[in-house]
Amino acid sequence: MTMPQGTVPLELSTPIHLTATTSLASNTTGGVNTVALKNPMGGAMEVHEIKFQVTGPLSQTNANVFGGIIAAKLDIGSHPLTNGYVPIWSLGRSLGLGAENLIRNVNNAISEFSWRLARPLYVPADAVITPTFQHRGLITNSLSVRVSYVGRSFNRRGPLPQKVYIPYASAYVSKNFSIDSADTDESTELELINPFDSPLFIQRFTGRCQFYWNDGSANNYATDSQMGSIVSGGQLMTVRMVDSNGRPIIRNFTVFYTAFPQPTRSWELDGKAVMDPQSYYRVFTRKSAPTAALNIPATTQIFVGCVGWREIGTGEMK
């Protein structure tokens, strides 16, 4: 097997899984015990996948899906891995919509999301990827968040890789649209952005649509818009996207779940397209009204993520 440039031979490594948890009250931010996320062997390691598990209340007969409620900000040293707080379901493709909507012990819901990095992230010895989480509100309940890093640990301090692949994710979250109204929204220049002087190789765009039930009671819940025969917000949304030079990325207004295929909630590019340095994408959203008013206390909201990686020399890894 040909190894991507910048990695250490397999025989010098062992698999590793690191995990940490935190609990967040509504509308708060918080970190985790980062010591639990450092390589306990003291050496360098590579991270291949970042996983999230969120546990919270089950509301009525509809499980909450928490991917749009919890956002993560990740950094390694001076290098950001995210553009501020990015909703955790905007980082990876859906690997199993059922797994994002699990029920435990009758009263609790669990959502699981995973970000498989396109290229392994080299983490030098004594360094750590620092996560900070944000509970975006919407529901009043506290949520328990677990983050895990999966990768391999290097058994000895081998030669440094020549290049390091730094993943980077940004997201646009639209406003909350009332279910029965027609409305529009657009992203700003600061949301889907490549702020670096080097190109960003795009791994994927993710597209999620959140349905939020808010009747003012304790039974408020948020879920993926297509769960449980609820009105399909993703079918009422259309989007188009342009880059900072005005080039069309999504040329015409396209049904949301056609632009970001419904089964995977993502448009996979596998690094075959680039985002120019110091550039951004703008998303224009149009929400249509349903053919007959539903008269329910609910809103819908879309999340568009841009996930990729950039390359830096090992000397810049501070």
Binding site: L97, M227, S229, S232, P248, I249, I250, L269, V274
Partner: protein, 315 residues
């Protein structure tokens, strides 16, 4: 003397990733309304790259919305509507092939859980609609030269339902003019077998699941789907299981009589139930085919089997 921009471009073109020079992602889309028993042609202008630049086509996506009535609990429109593609003089589909035969299934479920690729029941009690989503990732990205169009025709069986509104999208990447045009490209090819419904026994012919081209076909996978049409009122149309283990058993042989599936085996043991596909890598020489024989086919079900691959064509 070269400008700064030209020098910067040359640096990228001479670097390790020349093929990514100013490659930008792109989704082109259009919509088409097809009545029951009718056909249609997608607006190929809307699906053409707007700047007369080369375009790599990676995926074709369909979102199909069909009105239902109270008796219909689930609906998979991918078996009702067929597509036929062509790239200029190069044939891509050997005939109209049902949309759900272009790609494996993702996260299939027949419930109205709402996550499925194939069935989604929008239970607005006033207007019931069903949405089906399909994504065909091409075996190899297809290079489309400036001005060329990847055309598609559609036809729909007479299923008796209301107008289907279908949104079609081409997802890919457009490239800069400075990228070298390849001398040969990989063009997809699909050949299908759609036996006539109502018979309990069927066998494919020399026109089905065949490589009719003068060049070898790199087979990627075979897709196997079962469309269920219940009685005259068609109360359920969906990609279905077959009722018992002895229903719809098949054997498959190649052109020389060699066994591919040796003994009669249930349809969904051959085509994995979760994905409705059997992925394999094989080169099918020119004019060769696969012969499928099916028995015990329930009369309210239609078997759809497709062979998907790609071949080299000179530009």
């Amino acid at each position: 003397m070269s400008t700064d921009q030209e020098m910067e471009d040359r640096e990228i073109l001479d670097g390790p990733n020349p093929n990514l020079f100013r490659v930008a992602p792109c989704v082109l889309s259009t919509s088409l309304t097809i009545a029951s028993g009718r056909g249609g042609l997608a607006d190929s202008g809307a699906l053409s790259q707007p700047f007369r630049r080369p375009f790599w086509l990676d995926e074709v996506r369909w979102s199909i919305r069909v009105p239902t009535d109270a008796t219909l609990t689930t609906l998979a429109a991918g078996g009702l509507i067929s597509a036929k593609f062509a790239l200029g003089r190069m044939v891509v589909s050997n005939d109209f092939v049902p949309i759900h035969c272009y790609a494996p299934s993702f996260q299939f479920t027949r419930s109205s859980f709402g996550c499925a690729e194939e069935c989604f029941d929008h239970t607005n009690t006033v207007t019931r609609l069903s949405f089906s989503h399909y994504r065909w990732k091409l075996p190899k990205p297809l290079f489309i030269t400036p001005g060329q169009q990847f055309t598609c025709e559609y036809e729909r069986i007479a299923d008796g339902l209301g107008d289907a509104v279908m949104q079609i999208a081409y997802a890919g990447r457009y490239v800069d003019q400075k990228i070298k045009t390849p001398k040969a490209i990989d063009v997809p090819f699909i050949s299908a077998w759609l036996p006539t419904p109502g018979s309990t026994f069927a066998q494919s012919s020399e026109k089905d699941l065949v490589n009719p081209l003068p060049v070898p076909l790199h087979c990627q996978r075979m897709i196997g789907r079962v469309l269920r049409l219940q009685a005259a009122s068609c109360t359920t149309r969906m990609d279905s299981t077959v009722a018992t283990p002895t229903d719809a058993n098949i054997v498959i042989k190649d052109s020389y009589g060699h066994n591919v599936v040796r003994d009669f085996l249930n349809f969904y043991r051959v085509f994995d139930y979760n994905r409705r596909a059997w992925t394999f890598n094989r080169i099918l020489p020119s004019k060769e085919r696969y012969l499928v024989t099916a028995q015990n086919i329930p009369t309210d079900r239609r078997l759809h089997v497709a062979l998907i691959g790609s071949r080299k064509e000179a530009l």
